[in-house]
């Protein structure tokens, strides 16, 4: 079937009374951004639905992208035909034929915006339904819970037929839930946590700690590429790269081995909080999950969280690794996450980190380094790049290689 338009139904936002306008505007903007590579699309966000006119762009690719945008309940591809009953009937029969499986039931559901059209909804239901029955042998009409509902909408500019409903990502449009900073390492967890934060409408800035030569440029490229994947679900993301080498060397030199990891984490959180404040964002997200590694015990979280009063949100806190991996696969970050590059979390891990660090000791050991100066230096040294949906960084020669392949 050659679809001409995709109709997008809004999700939860329909229930939010006075914020509705903002939600619709934001969703429209997000949809535009996530579909920006399809040049010929026309996108109109109306009060009850959003319409994407394909103008020849591939329907499956557009639907796939749309079904990942938060705030969308579901989408229906539809065929636009002229206001001619014969054409409407033929198209309806062709659509039903394409989906037909033995024993299938259907009904026609006509809506009429154009009240000057020569037939009313009941007449249209009868005529189109009758024609389908005649042309698709074995199909049955059923009014209550049919397998397929064929919607016929008579609008001023044409007639739109649709029968498929493809589930959307749900959630809230990214940007309607405020802005926060995400601590992105490059592992499996943080992209999943980012995805879940965005699902509740939060717009994220990524903070990534970079420590060459202890961490490689590949690890940095991987974190950026992951950001590109996550951006598929909410549009462009600011990627903030923090120089961390000096702090790691200071800590390694001055802090007792058992507390290396705790102090390093405290410094990371301090810097992230400073960045978040400077950017007027309202919280910090992390990919921590309770009990997964030494730094993710409750004791550890308390010892680390001590450095800021800003809310630290952990969407994965009680998820099992298997559940996290499932989402990572769904959002297409898993394959990237498991690429074996050293990141800042693995390289300075002491052989036996304290799984139950003591808060007072953490505070005292931290006095061994010049915290304020180090934080200031790191924050002053940040580099920010804007990352687009699906932007790639790992393989700079992709185009050259494409010639070979």
């Amino acid at each position: 079937m050659n679809y001409s338009e995709i109709m997008v139904r809004y999700g939860e936002l329909s229930t939010k009374g006075k914020n509705r306008k903002d939600f619709i505007r934001q969703l429209g903007q997000n949809v535009r951004q996530s579909l920006q590579e399809f040049e010929n699309l026309e996108i109109k966000a109306q009060h009850d639905r959003l319409h994407v006119t394909l103008n020849g762009e591939p329907d499956d690719a557009v639907i796939k992208r749309l079904s990942g945008v938060f705030g969308i309940e579901n989408v229906s591809p539809s065929v636009k035909v002229e206001k001619d009953v014969a054409v409407i009937k033929q198209t309806a029969a062709a659509m039903m034929q394409e989906q037909f499986v033995p024993g299938m039931t259907f009904k026609i559901n006509t809506r009429r915006q154009d009240h000057d059209f020569e037939y009313d909804t009941n007449q249209l239901n009868d005529m189109v339904g009758g024609y389908v029955l005649e042309k698709v042998p074995g199909i049955k009409v059923q009014m209550k819970k049919p397998d397929v509902i064929l919607r016929v909408e008579v609008r001023l500019n044409g007639v739109f037929l649709s029968s498929e409903i493809i589930e959307g990502a749900g959630g809230l449009p990214v940007g309607t839930g405020g802005r926060a900073v995400m601590m992105l390492s490059g592992g499996i967890d943080s992209p999943v946590a980012s995805y879940l934060a965005m699902k509740r409408g939060v717009k994220l800035d990524m903070v990534h700690f970079f420590s060459p030569p202890y961490t490689s440029y590949q690890a940095l490229a991987k974190a950026k590429e992951l950001t590109g994947k996550v951006a598929n679900f909410g549009g462009d993301i600011q990627f903030i790269q923090v120089p961390f080498r000096k702090i790691q060397e200071e800590i390694k030199e001055k802090v007792p081995e058992g507390y290396l990891m705790t102090i390093q984490r405290r410094m990371m959180l301090r810097i992230t909080a400073a960045i978040a404040e400077a950017r007027h964002t309202k919280g910090i997200f992390t990919g921590e999950s309770l009990g997964q590694v030494a730094s993710q015990t409750l004791e550890s979280m308390m010892a680390i969280n001590d450095v800021t009063t800003m809310p630290v949100l952990r969407p994965l806190v009680s998820m099992d690794k298997d559940e996290i991996i499932k989402i990572a696969e769904k959002i297409d970050t898993y394959d990237l996450s498991i690429l074996p590059f050293e990141d800042c979390c693995t390289i300075f891990t002491p052989p036996a980190p304290k799984t139950r660090p003591d808060l007072e000791k953490s505070r005292n050991f931290e006095k061994l380094i010049d915290v304020d100066a180090l934080v200031k230096e790191a924050v002053d040294g940040i580099e920010i790049v804007n990352i687009k949906p699906n932007e790639t960084f790992l393989n700079k020669q992709e185009d050259v290689f494409a010639e070979l392949l």
């Binding site: 393989n395 020669q397 290689f401 494409a402 070979l404 392949l405």
Partner: protein, 386 residues
């Protein structure tokens, strides 16, 4: 020369060779090296993997590189046996598989595994009812080829897959070495299949290349242990030039697949329609969609297959007895004997196998040569026409 032995191997495509050449000269680093030069090779390796995954509509991590069909078959069978041995010791396959499957199964049998070989009907096709009856609580693997390499039968993979939906823990393997690029990818990539074997040199890629598809979450033990390449599942420094060349070969193969398939089918049918009228000819391949488009197997009764092959060779036409693997050993075709074709006939069988570069003019030439040779064969044949 006319090359009609494409199921044995295909000519490497010049464009494929130019990729092999360029990569060998320019991007010869080890993908596992940390430095930039190695990283380049790593990126090319992964981009090749991505291209193959995209062409087949699967995920990057589901493609694992091998040295070819034989390794893929060995790996999936033995790797499953090793991985799942605490869950069961029973494997099922068909009586018409390639020796890479059959002999791997026999080796596993010697180690204490139990193997069921499903019988085939007169078309070389298994019956799903037989499979159902053969399944046991201890069954760990079912391996069914997509296209028979000797006569071209397409196995009922969809029905097998549907049946195995009730046995979700059984590994379902498809040997698709003869099936890729032949218009049946929906059948091969059915919604139940767990593992698929592919071989590069059957689609104009260099020898010693191949890959398997392994569905995400389905595990097999490695056979080659070592440096941990291919996700620790198949060690050995990656053959990047050949892999890149194979990725290109697959792209070229699948471009305009429908057109190429239709052309091969038309040529195959043109020869089939010609030879079927001769009284000494017994056809094994059939002129319908349940047979692959590129394979034609028939016997000229009373004349040994080798004799026919050499006679065509003198006319500049290369064909084979039923399969390249068995032809030099003077064995009767295993597929034909599984179809209960008497040995007197199956030793007279020959196979014509096409690719997308063969032409109708070649088919005409073959038919003309056939007519000429048939007159000689008629005198040679110790059988009277029936």
């Amino acid at each position: 020369m006319i090359y009609f032995d494409n199921s044995a191997t295909t000519m490497a495509d010049p464009e494929v060779i130019s990729t092999y050449d360029a990569v060998s000269k320019q991007i010869w680093g080890n993908p596992s090296s940390l430095h930039n030069f190695g990283e380049q090779a790593f990126n090319l390796l992964e981009q090749s993997r991505q291209q193959i995954a995209d062409l087949l509509g699967v995920s990057l991590s589901e493609i694992l590189f091998t040295s070819g069909g034989t390794e893929g078959d060995n790996w999936i069978l033995k790797g499953t046996a090793l991985e799942k041995r605490q869950f069961g010791n029973h494997l099922i396959t068909t009586a018409v598989e390639h020796p890479a499957i059959h002999n791997s199964m026999e080796q596993l049998k010697d180690l204490g595994f139990e193997v069921t070989y499903l019988p085939v009907d007169e078309h070389g096709r298994i019956n799903v009812a037989d499979l159902k009856a053969a399944l046991r609580p201890t069954t760990i693997l079912v391996s069914v080829m997509a296209v028979n390499n000797e006569i071209g039968t397409i196995q009922p993979l969809k029905e097998v897959g549907d049946l195995l939906k009730d046995y979700p823990k059984v590994h379902f393997h498809v040997d698709a070495v003869q099936g890729i690029g032949k218009g049946i990818s929906d059948l091969i990539f059915n919604d139940r299949v767990d593992f698929i074997t592919f071989s590069g040199h059957k689609f104009h890629a260099p020898r010693g290349t191949g890959f398997i598809y392994a569905k995400r979450g389905k595990r097999i033990a490695p056979l080659l242990s070592g440096g941990g390449q291919e996700r620790n599942l198949r060690s050995g420094t990656e053959n990047v030039p050949a892999i890149a060349a194979m990725a290109k070969g697959l792209r070229l193969l699948l471009t305009d697949e429908d057109k190429k398939v239709a052309q091969q089918r038309a040529i195959r049918d043109h020869i089939l329609d010609h030879v079927k009228n001769y009284p000494l000819v017994t056809l094994f391949s059939e002129e319908n969609e349940s047979f692959a488009p590129h394979i034609l197997c028939f016997a000229i009764r009373g004349v040994r297959g080798e004799t026919i092959v050499h006679a065509f060779e003198e006319q500049g036409i290369f064909i084979s007895t039923t399969s390249a693997c068995s032809s030099k050993k003077h064995m009767a075709s295993s597929t034909l004997s599984a179809m209960r074709i008497p040995e007197a006939i199956s030793t007279s069988a020959i196979r014509v196998s096409l690719d997308e570069h063969n032409t109708m003019a070649e088919a005409d030439e073959f038919n003309a040569a056939f007519d000429k040779l048939y007159d000689q064969f008629k005198k040679l044949s110790n059988e009277t026409a029936k």
